[in-house]
């Protein structure tokens, strides 16, 4: 992704933001759409397009759970670990998904590159705790362990939507 492409994406939405600095988030989301994650070069290009330093852009990118600075699987499953979900068993849910996908108990990407499991802070679905979210699109809950298995199987069977909105 080049700075020109990112600028071309930002130009039409520029006047929606009071501060130029705020454009960094749409720029990051747009740049991430290409590969599903951002490389160091992408960060540098975003910085050039938004007149910020690469260090600052990287710090923002690292702040958000849905901006990825490392490669992720084709689909990302986020398990909420905030209070309501934790009280309703999100620890077991996360542990189950992690061991099922063969990743460390903090999350990671399955060996076949299909699914990334990660922790998420409150997804705004406390009434459906424990909940999980697929990419940034589909939030579901309460999720039992067998339902989680079904979700993972379904994601493997489905073609990956393009562009990925995470």
């Amino acid at each position: 992704m080049t700075a020109e492409e990112i600028r071309a994406h930002l130009d039409p939405i520029r006047d929606q933001f009071a501060e130029e600095r705020s454009l960094v988030l749409p720029a990051l989301k747009f740049a991430q759409g290409e590969k599903g994650h951002l490389t160091g070069d992408d960060v540098t290009e975003v910085a050039a397009a938004t007149n910020l330093t690469p260090a600052y852009v990287e710090s923002i990118a690292s702040f958000y759970d849905r901006i990825y600075l490392d490669p992720v699987g084709k689909r990302v499953v986020s398990v909420c670990v905030s209070l309501s979900c934790m009280l309703n068993g999100s620890d077991e849910l996360l542990e189950h998904l992690c061991s099922r996908e063969g990743v460390s108990h903090e999350g990671g990407t399955s060996a076949d590159g299909e699914i990334t499991v990660q922790e998420a802070q409150c997804l705004g679905a406390c009434d459906r705790a424990p909940c999980l979210q697929v990419d940034a699109e589909e939030t579901m809950g309460p999720v039992t362990l067998s339902e989680a298995d079904a979700v993972a199987d379904r994601l493997r069977a489905e073609p990956q939507p393009r562009p990925v909105l995470r």
Binding site: G40, V43, T53, P54, A55, Y56, E58
Partner: protein, 763 residues
């Protein structure tokens, strides 16, 4: 570090408010933490730092109760208002502050005895004063592999970080490099650079002083000392003429650390230091340091004692028909004064000269109201004429950035491409055309309320017509002031004593030479100087480090470095400031003033100064510009010397013609190119060498290629140097870095730095 901003309780705009049941006063709008501190009440803080711009409120440590504001409020971001009722000691407040500390310590290791910061750590101190005696945490703390090298000089121990953001704000809002950031969030937050790059820059070391915990520490200093076995001494940095106020840390006879003072000089450096000033002390321990006096007798070179060396110096100089005293640009006022006294009496038919330029046309500018670095903040227009503050007077850069943030207009006029051009309007002038280039800036000076001109001594000496234009423009606006960035560290002090530059002496028979911290062979007109020194009499050198001159001297007497002796330097803003000895120096060395006094005894006319203090008193009595000053009035922060009366330019205001064929040569120093950067262990990784810079189009015309060695020739000498092509460099001139140890760029210049042209060829 200054925890709280200074508050003026003597002004007329004070409001009364109630603090812990007591009625006190502070200027309206002062932040509550500062107003409390000014009234003797400490509110604990971590993220608040008066020099980092607007308060952030990140750490929540300064919670206090203010009547009318529900709950507790952060004192760092609450301005004082009349009749406010503030309580900083109630049970509710105490519990809140205690609670915040307990949270900050949740992940912070409680291993103060093995931490480098232990004993001088704000987190430790405030935990004792305001915090919990015991931790209730039973969960494991977060762990990281032990420390990371944030830069070759800065270690980052992430476990100790309390995410106060001070270092990040310094990088974003003070040095404005933007390279230090906080990544991740919440409990995972950590200080980082882009993809883990080294945090390099001119001012990076300040984050060590800013860090309120042991997360950021100085690699050259860490684990070398303990707060209870060190001694701290306030002094002044002698790396450049800015004159930053420093604190020297002494342990076992050696300087172990230089840092900004807890009580900074708000008129000068505000507590910030550049990396050269911070880690340059290592040059004192370098192999090039002179540790033993040397005698050369015929072909024989031998080491001797100090007494023997001084006796020999007296002997060889007394036998000369006439003598020349050469002073470096960084000799103290005392050394220069005693050297002058020596020349006036004990030394046979002596003349004195110092490093520096004549500056015949600069008198009218210097006679205008002198500004201090601190005045840059309050100006509405800052015109920087010539120079390259970022490289040659680094801490001045931070003042310019601060002024820009405060809304001042910055105009840079000069022949160089420089980094600070992005701060405002930049007018590049071809060498010789500076006066013309000043037209727009001069027009702006006439229209604003508080214009301030920061001007470079060497660049205006080279273009006297511009100096005259500038002096006239400033003279027309009564509110205007000027700040000279002198080329020599004590240039203003030498001028105040009436010591003329030594360039006039180079064509004369030098006779016997006494050189004090001087090395003219490495300076402008080096070849001419070396010829003069070769044909002259014996050379006696008083110096702290080996140089080309000590190699050819008959007598070499090691003297103290500026970290090791007492004296006065008159730095930018004509500010006289005291050096204080932080260490004793090598066994067989002595302060320069003491060696000169001993020499006077040997020469048979003893000078009766028993201390630098008494020498300074005599100097002030003899020099009108210094009158009224003594060590006590200078104190820790120094004082301005009297402005010299306006002198007539006497025809020196005409443009100076360039000597020689080819393109005009523009030289300048590079921040990490000087001797400290090359000699000090802590700095050598960032040291840069000599180079010439050309615009690519110019290089194509001259048929020279990037990264090749090229030869520059001027009427004064020849120099071979690496070429760098830079599209940002103006066409029509050759730019070169001077002042690098062992470098030869200076030899292209005339002894008086008259402008020269150079021819360029592939070496």
């Amino acid at each position: 570090m200054p925890d709280y901003a200074p508050v003026d309780l003597t002004g007329t705009d004070l409001v009364e408010f109630e603090l812990n049941g007591r009625t006190v006063k502070a200027p309206a709008g002062t932040m509550l933490v500062d107003a409390c501190a000014a009234n003797g009440v400490e509110v604990p803080i971590f993220c608040y730092e008066p020099r980092l711009g607007d308060p952030l409120g990140a750490c929540r440590q300064c919670l206090v109760s203010v009547e009318g504001i529900p709950g507790l409020t952060t004192a760092c971001s609450t301005p004082v208002a009349a009749e406010m009722m503030v309580d900083t000691v109630s049970e509710e407040v105490r519990e809140a502050q205690d609670g915040i500390l307990e949270l900050l310590l949740e992940n912070h290791p409680l291993d103060c005895p093995v931490c480098d910061k232990g004993g001088e750590c704000p987190l430790q101190d405030r935990t004792f004063r305001f915090g919990p005696g015991e931790s209730r945490m039973v969960e494991p703390k977060r762990h990281f592999p032990k420390p990371l090298k944030l830069s070759p000089q800065i270690a980052l121990d992430r476990e100790r970080c309390i995410s106060c953001y001070r270092c990040v704000r310094f990088s974003q809002d003070v040095s404005e490099d933007g390279n230090l950031t906080m990544s991740e969030r919440g409990g995972r937050s950590e200080i980082t650079t882009f993809t883990g790059d080294s945090y390099n820059g001119r001012f990076t070391g300040n984050v060590i002083d800013l860090c309120p915990v042991g997360a950021l520490t100085s690699i050259p200093y860490r684990f070398t000392s303990r707060p209870w076995d060190i001694q701290n001494t306030p002094s002044v940095c002698a790396s450049c003429s800015v004159g930053c106020n420093t604190e020297l840390t002494l342990r076992e006879g050696e300087i172990k650390r230089v840092q900004g003072r807890d009580e900074p000089n708000w008129q000068v450096e505000e507590g910030w230091l550049c990396n050269v000033g911070r880690w340059g002390y290592g040059a004192d321990q370098a192999p090039q340091r002179l540790r033993q006096p040397i005698l050369r007798d015929g072909g024989e070179t031998r080491e001797c004692s100090l007494e023997e060396a001084v006796a020999a110096a007296g002997l060889v100089l007394a036998h000369e028909a006439h003598t020349t005293v050469l002073l470096g640009g960084d000799v103290t006022v005392e050394e220069a004064f005693i050297a002058k006294e020596l020349a006036a009496g004990p030394l046979p038919d002596a003349q004195v000269g110092s490093a520096g330029v004549v500056g015949a046309a600069l008198g009218p500018l210097r006679a205008l109201p002198a500004a201090q670095l601190g005045d840059i903040d309050g100006a509405d227009l800052v015109v920087v004429v010539g120079g390259d503050p970022a490289n040659q007077h680094p801490v001045a850069e931070l003042r310019l950035r601060k002024a820009r943030r405060a809304g001042a207009r910055i105009v840079l006029v000069g022949p160089r491409a420089q980094e600070l051009e992005s701060l405002g309007e930049s007018i590049r002038t071809a060498p010789g055309n500076l006066a013309e280039g000043l037209t727009s800036a001069v027009a702006q000076i006439a229209t604003v309320k508080r214009p301030l001109v920061v001007w470079d001594e060497l660049d205006l000496d080279a273009e006297p017509d511009a100096a005259v234009v500038l002096a006239t423009a400033l003279g027309d606006n009564a509110a205007a002031s000027q700040l000279e960035l002198t080329s020599e560290v004590n240039g203003a002090g030498l001028r105040a004593l009436g010591v003329a530059p030594h360039s006039r002496l180079v064509d004369q028979d030098l006779g016997g030479v006494l050189a004090v911290r001087a090395n003219p062979g490495a300076g402008p007109g080096g070849d001419a100087w070396n010829r003069a020194l070769d044909s002259g009499g014996p050379i006696v050198v008083i110096a702290s480090h080996h140089s080309e001159l000590t190699e050819r001297a008959t007598v070499v007497i090691p003297c103290s470095s500026h970290f090791e002796h007492e004296g006065v330097l008159v730095t930018a803003g004509q500010r006289a400031q005291r050096l204080r000895p932080g260490a004793a120096g090598p066994e067989q060395s002595a302060p320069g003033w003491e060696i000169l006094i001993a020499l006077s005894h040997r020469l048979g006319v003893a000078l009766e100064y028993r201390s630098p203090r008494s020498a300074f008193a005599a100097a002030t009595a003899s020099a009108p510009a210094l009158s009224g000053l003594d060590y006590d009035t200078l104190g820790d922060l120094g004082a301005e010397i009297a402005t010299s009366p306006a002198s007539d330019v006497n025809g020196a205001g005409a443009p100076r013609a360039h000597d020689g064929e080819g393109l005009p040569l523009v030289t300048g120093r590079s921040v990490f190119g000087g001797p400290e950067a090359h000699l000090s262990e802590g700095l050598v990784v960032t040291a840069t060498g000599e180079e010439a810079v050309l615009h690519p189009a110019e290089a194509a015309r001259l048929n020279v290629a990037d990264a090749n060695l090229i030869t520059l020739n001027s009427p004064n000498g020849e120099c071979t140097v690496r070429l760098r092509l830079d599209p940002g460099a103006p066409e029509g001139a050759v730019f070169a870095v001077r002042g690098v140890p062992g470098g030869t760029v200076e030899s292209l210049l005339a002894p008086d730095r008259a402008p020269v042209n150079v021819t360029v060829n592939t070496a």
